[in-house]
């Protein structure tokens, strides 16, 4: 009788200190990379080359912007916090994984037409971001980075699945 799930090699838990160094470290630690399907170049991405640096920078920029949006929506409509704050927490955690700092607080309260419009904007932009994380995973040269980005997209998909309709009534 076999255990349902054979053990699989996992990427190391090492936090990324720089994109290139961490990717190189993860490649060494996990023994896997994106090249196995034939369409990428071989393994052994060096820290100097860092071919995924621009990709990570784009992901960090988008997540930072979204973290700012969710903070602004919560500041403007505190009653939306239960629905919106989980996205902010998610972005903060993902930015930490990518060794980037999340915004500390809302820089402003935004300019929304109302709570429903604000929540709709969060939903639309989170959906777009989730798809972009999938695209980023597909574009990553490093298999380890691709895995992390795919897991980020899965975390976003879970929160989108849980996103409830906007609450009725006026907001503070």
């Amino acid at each position: 009788m076999r255990h349902p799930f054979p053990s699989l090699p996992r990427a190391a838990a090492t936090r990324r200190t720089t994109v290139g160094a961490a990717l190189a470290g993860l490649v060494v630690a996990s023994g896997c990379d994106a090249s196995r399907d034939g369409s990428d170049e071989g393994p052994g991405v060096s820290a100097q080359e860092d071919p995924d640096a621009a990709l990570v920078d784009r992901v960090v920029a988008e997540l930072t912007e979204l973290a700012g949006l969710t903070a602004a929506v919560v500041a403007a409509y505190p009653r939306l916090a239960p629905a919106v704050r989980p996205f902010g927490d998610l972005h903060a955690a993902h930015l930490e994984v990518l060794d980037a700092e999340p915004p500390r607080a809302a820089t402003d309260r935004g300019s929304f037409a109302g709570p429903e419009a604000a929540l709709k904007e969060v939903r639309v932009r989170e959906q777009r971001s989730q798809r972009r994380l999938v695209d980023a995973s597909l574009a990553a040269r490093s298999g380890s980075l691709a895995r992390v980005l795919a897991c980020m997209s899965a975390g976003a998909a879970q929160r989108l699945a849980r996103l409830s309709p906007p609450p009725a009534g006026e907001d503070a």
Partner: protein
């Protein structure tokens, strides 16, 4: 790990998932627990389809697909809807981790398929009373 090894490992996991979901379905009353039964039936159908895709993928890679084991180790007690639900949730969490590893070892269309499967497994965890995680499928970040 090569792409072939990763696909074979994922296929082995899907063989197990199909087996376990069959057992979970057998332990679930369609009339008493219609929502749970529907969720398990849906998951069973999806995992069978993924198993079949993986079988074809291995053949496309020029190898013999790994066979299903005669039986698999099941959770010790499946005598309540709660335990069945938990077993299904843990099964999907295991699938998410498996597909995350497949993502790391593929590229192009195969990676896209693996990312889709990972996302599906992560969302299906919620149907079995799971809670959202920061990085489903990446156990090393589970404490975040």
């Amino acid at each position: 790990m090569t792409t072939l090894e990763a696909v074979q490992t994922t296929l082995a996991a899907e063989h197990a998932a199909v087996y376990v979901y069959g057992a979970l379905g057998a332990q679930t009353s369609r009339s008493a627990e219609p929502a749970l039964y529907a969720a398990i039936s849906s998951a069973y159908t999806e995992h069978r389809a993924r198993r079949d895709v993986l079988t074809r993928t291995v053949a496309d890679l020029g190898a013999d697909p790994v066979a299903s084991a005669a039986s698999y180790e099941l959770p010790a007690r499946l005598d309540s809807p709660e335990r069945v639900t938990r077993a299904a949730r843990e099964l999907e969490e295991g699938c998410a981790a498996t597909y995350a590893s497949l993502v790391a070892n593929t590229s192009g269309a195969r990676r896209r398929w693996a990312v889709t499967a990972l996302n599906d497994a992560a969302v299906r965890v919620l149907a079995f009373r799971g809670t959202p995680e920061m990085l489903p499928g990446a156990d090393e970040y589970a404490d975040r």
